[in-house]
């Protein structure tokens, strides 16, 4: 349970940034 909480919290912290990197790349590609 503890590991699950740590993993979930870590994802909440890190994954939006990771997703954003790809989303921004997509937007930049479209802009280009």
């Amino acid at each position: 349970f503890d590991e699950l909480i740590v993993e979930t919290a870590t994802r909440r912290k890190q994954w939006p940034k990771k997703i954003l990197v790809h989303a921004i790349q997509t937007m930049k590609a479209e802009q280009e």
């Binding site: 994802r11 909440r12 994954w15 997703i19 954003l20 989303a23 479209e30 802009q31």
Partner: protein, 172 residues
């Protein structure tokens, strides 16, 4: 600060633990040994307490180092300080990742939107100018066609007169 509270709470825990495990209590528990070796009992007790305190303090320091607690405590103090004017409960993860990631995307989508709006405006302006030149080009072509038509008609008129004139020279 959190670090101070943390240290104070741990120190208080230790003080109370030592107070609970008093020498009197120790002697009461080890009555038989105490009767034989009272001095040694005292020194064993003192060493027991000081070693226990040292171990616990060492453990706390290790936990602090491992978890970088000092740094985390001070940055959390700052974050809490910044929010001190807020009363209402702040946002918390909803538990639905796609909902939560949406807001993270919004600033970039808004930036993208303003970029697209600017590009569209520029394109429209540019196309307006090009369309003007196209219209002017069409007018020019229409004018050239009119000129050509006029010249062509003039020549055709002359041509017709020419033929008539020639007719007049031909033997009836």
């Amino acid at each position: 600060s959190r670090a101070q509270v943390f240290a104070t709470v741990v120190d208080t825990f230790l003080e109370k633990l030592v107070a609970a495990g008093s020498y009197q209590r120790f002697v009461n528990s080890y009555r038989c040994f105490y009767k034989l070796q009272p001095q040694l009992t005292r020194s064993i007790y003192d060493q027991f307490i000081s070693q226990l305190q040292a171990s616990i303090k060492e453990e706390i320091q290790e936990v602090k180092n491992e978890g970088n607690l000092e740094g985390l405590f001070s940055s959390l103090d700052k974050i809490v300080e910044e929010a001190k004017d807020r009363e209402e409960p702040a946002w918390r993860p909803s538990g639905i990742p796609e909902d939560d990631v949406r807001s993270a995307m919004v600033p970039y989508l808004l930036k993208h939107r303003s970029h697209l709006r600017r590009v569209l405006r520029e394109k429209e302006e540019q196309n307006r100018k090009v369309a003007e030149s196209v219209l002017m080009g069409r007018d020019r072509i229409a004018e050239l066609e009119r000129l050509i038509q006029a010249r062509q008609q003039a020549w055709q008129a002359i041509n017709k007169e020419q033929r008539e004139l020639i007719m007049t020279f031909q033997e009836p």
